[in-house]
């Protein structure tokens, strides 16, 4: 099986977001960058697929120098080799520009199955993986919580989360799977894994090598951020003080009905 996994490096979930003076990005200094949590599920599922059906796992990621650390993490978890789309021209892309680059990089791998996170926790766009499926001509199952791939590697059955329950989807491979929490428990990189990762191949591909000059990054972006805005801070409201839990509850319910008008 040829297995690919797309990953993204994002600020850690504990990051306190500070907006820069230009009002168009976060302040990067002091931010700890990690593999986006949903991408961890994707890497784990890719590795489990290889363990069951054999083959190799290729990691693909787009981003600046610092992304190499996250790529090494995936390699340390057990992925075999990596493609790093690293070039200033890739920066500032929207979902479509980024997906074009990733889809073109995947073409060099010709994967039977591609794993990705259901969304990255920075832009929260949840659109790049699906666009990659369209542009690379892959079937797709998104927001997947369970996956079974047939032994012959031709079909798969995925359970995807939907409002009020889930859907079981039958897929023809090649296909892309976007991964949701609950699919698996990602492993930690072992010490020998970390040592081995240092020697694994990380191939850099430039836009020209993918035939995408002028189509990726900011030059190819159709959607552009105009402004990044802070949240309106919620003001702490009122404490309800009462003699008994019953009296406090009655006052709360009264306020919710009469003042907030939400009950």
């Amino acid at each position: 099986m040829k297995i690919a996994v797309i990953i993204k490096q994002t600020p850690d979930t504990e990051t306190v977001v500070k907006i820069n003076d230009a009002g168009n990005d976060i302040v990067g200094t002091g931010v700890k960058y990690v593999m986006s949590p949903y991408c961890e599920f994707a890497v784990e599922e890719a590795l489990r697929t290889k363990e069951k059906l054999g083959g190799e796992v290729v990691v693909v990621s787009l981003g600046p120098d610092r992304v190499l650390e996250t790529i090494r993490t995936a390699l340390a978890m057990g992925c075999d080799r990596a493609i790093h789309l690293k070039d200033p021209a890739y920066e500032g892309g929207d979902g479509q520009a980024t997906a074009k680059a990733l889809a073109a990089a995947l073409k060099t791998v010709s994967p039977d199955i591609v794993f990705a996170g259901k969304q990255a926790i920075d832009g929260d766009q949840s659109q790049v993986a699906v666009r990659v499926a369209e542009l690379a001509g892959l079937a797709q199952a998104t927001i997947v919580t369970a996956l079974e791939i047939a032994a012959d590697g031709k079909t798969a059955k995925a359970t995807r989360r939907s409002e009020g329950g889930g859907e079981v989807v039958e897929l023809k491979l090649p296909a892309l799977i976007s991964c949701e929490k609950g699919l698996n428990e990602p492993r930690y990189a072992s010490l020998p894994g970390i040592m081995k990762a240092k020697k694994k191949e990380v191939k850099e591909l430039k836009p020209a090598e993918l035939g995408l000059e002028g189509q990726v990054g900011a030059a190819g972006a159709k959607a552009k951020r105009v402004k990044l805005l802070p949240l309106a801070e919620r003001k702490a409201g009122r404490r309800i003080e009462a003699e008994t839990p019953e009296a406090a509850a009655a006052e709360l319910v009264r306020l919710l009905r009469e003042e907030a008008k939400v009950l």
């Binding site: 979930t13 504990e14 990051t15 306190v16 907006i19 976060i26 949903y38 929207d94 979902g95 479509q96 997906a99 259901k118 926790i121 920075d122 832009g123 766009q125 949840s126 659109q127 790049v128 699906v130 666009r131 499926a133 892959l138 079937a139 797709q140 995807r160 989360r161 939907s162 409002e163 009020g164 889930g166 989807v169 039958e170 897929l171 023809k172 296909a175 159709k222 959607a223 552009k224 951020r225 105009v226 402004k227 805005l229 802070p230 702490a236 409201g237 009122r238 404490r239 309800i240 019953e246 406090a248 509850a249 009655a250 709360l252 319910v253 009264r254 306020l255 907030a260 939400v262 009950l263």
Partner: protein, 331 residues
């Protein structure tokens, strides 16, 4: 002039609330600019819903029907919606940010080489008559405004961000069929089974009121007092949980609210025994009203809550349930 196409989502023949909310947005944008609103409705045996879409704001409804579209399928629905877009050539395409919207809309946007703003909480027209979309980023820790240079401009809206218009029975939409050649044997993915999760009447992302429990719930069994409160509140209410409660095994992951769970947007969010970690706040801070109940008077959740009670949730929750039953009985 902004001509808007909305993608109606129906499941088992019922329209999703967010599709009516999308129509309200579309109507606003079209009315502000002298444009019109078309809705594409995809499914099998769903044409009867066209009248409802008209009463909620559609000027025209395009129906794509095929036996293979009974259940949602990425390929079939993408083909149907793409055909409608090619026919209407809208300036803006709107859909709900639901499990279907997330699966379908980026696929169609990629097909049209177009930009997409997902999970938007506000959409307006800029001075140039183009869409200005506002959406949360960094799990709701900030907002961004996005402009799209392609035609069409795509956006999905977060459920509960807009109010649907009141149905107006005197409005009717012109209904026509779109013919699309579909070959189900070519679909790369087919839904073969739809599962309903036990208990939940309404999904967290669609709920109007959420009763949520944290680590202080102490055990899975104790969640029953939250379900009792939810039942007392009635339709549109469901139960959520913090990551701490889920990680402690008190609740399944599909109940988790927060950065690695669901992002919710109800009118009322009641947080019982939830301290208010940044991860949790990220998932519920756009709630219109927030109530915090916690033993710890310094819990950060109190800083975000409109109403707070310092006390033992095991005493407060049943008391709130009784108080709700009482006012419901009074009407």
């Amino acid at each position: 002039m902004a001509n808007v196409l909305t993608i109606a989502e129906q499941r088992e023949g019922s329209l999703k609330k967010v599709s009516l909310e999308a129509l309200a947005v579309a109507r606003q944008l079209a009315d502000a600019s002298g444009g019109s609103v078309t809705t594409v409705l995809v499914g099998a045996g769903v044409a009867g819903l066209a009248a409802t879409l008209g009463s909620y704001g559609a000027d025209k409804v395009l129906v794509v029907e095929d036996a293979s579209l009974q259940l949602y399928t990425t390929d079939g629905y993408a083909a149907g919606v793409s055909a409608a877009i090619s026919e209407v050539k809208p300036d803006i395409v709107l859909a709900g940010h639901t499990s279907m919207g997330r699966d379908l809309v980026p696929r169609v946007a990629a097909r049209f080489d177009a930009g997409l703003a997902t999970d938007c909480t506000d959409i307006s027209l800029g001075g140039d008559g183009r869409m200005l979309a506002t959406r949360p980023v960094y799990s709701g820790k900030a907002y961004e405004q996005v402009a799209i240079s392609s035609d069409p401009q795509f956006a999905t809206i977060r459920p509960n961000s807009y109010k649907a218009r009141d149905a107006d029975a005197s409005r009717s939409a012109a209904v026509s069929a779109v013919s699309v050649a579909l070959d189900a044997s070519n679909y790369g993915a087919k839904v073969v089974e739809v599962k309903r999760s036990a208990g939940a009447k309404v999904d967290l992302t669609e709920a109007n009121i959420i009763v949520s429990g944290g680590r202080a719930m102490k055990a899975a069994d104790n969640f029953k007092i939250l379900w009792e409160l939810s039942d007392a509140i009635g339709e549109g209410c469901t139960v959520g949980a913090s990551r701490a409660a889920v990680d402690s095994g008190f609740a399944p992951h599909n109940m988790q609210v927060g950065q690695t769970g669901k992002v919710v947007n109800p009118s009322l969010y009641l947080a019982f025994g939830i301290s208010g970690a940044i991860q949790h706040l990220a998932g519920m801070r756009t709630s219109k009203a927030i109530v915090a109940v916690n033993k710890d008077p310094d819990a950060p959740m109190f800083q975000k809550a409109d109403y707070g009670i310092v006390g033992d949730l095991f005493q407060i929750v049943p008391a709130v349930t009784e108080a709700v039953k009482k006012i419901k009985a009074e009407g």
